[in-house]
Amino acid sequence: MVALICCGLTAAAQNSIQQKTSKAFSTRATHLLGFANTKSDCSGTLSIEDDSLQFQQTGKPGAKVKIASVGDVFLGAESKQVGGLPMTLGKTAAPFGGGRVVSLFAHKKYDTLTLEYVDADEGIHGAIFQLTKGQGEVVRNELIARGVAISSHPGQLTKESATEARHETK
């Protein structure tokens, strides 16, 4: 009777883990460069569904890459000026160096997620995504949970982020 209950509990736990792993995950991201059949510098949704990683540009069909083809994932941190070109022009036009003061405060920190994957001919591709601070780690963990083997030294991720952040705050 006890063995039966134990078996039942184990099966339920395994089932919940499997469900958790295969659950679809998505987050807002900006594709900076490199992902297959996707325009550079465009925002959209980065999602992980079943065995593929997908980036869907807003209002356009998505591009997919098999998770099994992803060889490495790297995290980084970057600080960027907000507002894009209109804000830059506005800051340039502002009198008495007012634009520079605005620049001091008009920046935001982002996570950069760099993926390395191979195509059907074994050619190496790289893709860089920009995510809201904290989301990079979540996507990376999701990819690891789905079997992406990270060949790099684990300390390298934090070191890379720290180095970039240090230069940004200087």
């Binding site: 900076l32 460069l33 490199g34 790297f74 980084g76 970057e78 600080s79 960027k80 000026q81 830059t88 800051k91 520079r100 620049s103 001091l104 920046h107 950069t112 760099t114 390395e116 191979v118 195509d119 001919d121 074994e122 050619g123 190496i124 591709h125 790289g126 893709a127 860089i128 790099s152 390298q156 070191k159 890379e160 180095t163 970039e164 230069h167 940004e168 705050t169 200087k170």
Partner: protein, 191 residues
């Protein structure tokens, strides 16, 4: 009679202008053809395989390495100097007879800051210096150049990689190896 004479002279003029306009084009075409068939066979066009960026001993962020690699492939494709542009590890590259390998080694990296650029204008530039080498399959260096790329005013830090890739592609385009024929001379220099 007068109108027919006039018509004849106009027709002669048109024919003369047409001949003058067509002749230089024909001559240029003949010259090109003569060049590309100089040895009795059509001149070979090279393909290139872009290797992953070697950071050397520097602490270069992985996103920068990937950005240089991806931008290089894109810019080299745009120049149309090579028959095919292959990625590192591409199995199809081994079947191509005339293949050159592009190796990029980072020699100098100055990390910058977009905020510092926006606030001070004069400081915060991101600078990259790389050594680019074009090698044959046998490992013979046919082109070696030191190329710079930076972002000084507007744009994110990654824009330095875009400028660098554009400069490398430009250097290769200006060199004789990317065109037709056998690359023989080793070219070294700095851009």
């Amino acid at each position: 009679m007068k109108p027919s004479k006039c018509n004849l002279s106009i027709a002669c003029m048109i024919a003369l202008v047409a001949i003058i306009l067509t002749l230089p084009g024909q001559l240029a075409g003949q010259t090109e053809a003569a060049k590309s068939y100089s040895n009795g066979t059509p001149a070979t066009r090279w393909s290139v395989q872009v290797d992953r960026v070697d950071p050397g001993t520097l602490e270069l962020a992985y996103s920068f390495q990937i950005a240089i690699y991806e931008n290089l492939i894109e810019k080299l494709k745009k120049t149309k100097q090579f028959q095919q542009v292959f990625r590192d590890g591409d199995l199809k590259a081994s079947e191509v007879p005339n293949l050159l390998m592009l190796k990029t080694t980072v020699e100098k990296y100055t990390p910058g800051s977009e905020t510092r650029r926006a606030v001070t204008t004069v400081s915060g530039a991101t600078k990259l210096t790389v050594r680019s080498q074009l090698l044959t399959r046998e490992g013979e260096v046919v082109l070696e150049r030191t190329v710079n790329g930076d972002v000084r005013f507007f744009g994110s830090n990654l824009r330095a990689t875009q400028n660098l890739a554009r400069n490398i592609a430009k250097t290769i385009k200006q060199s004789p190896v990317s065109g037709s024929g056998q690359p023989t001379a080793v070219l070294t220099g700095q851009l």
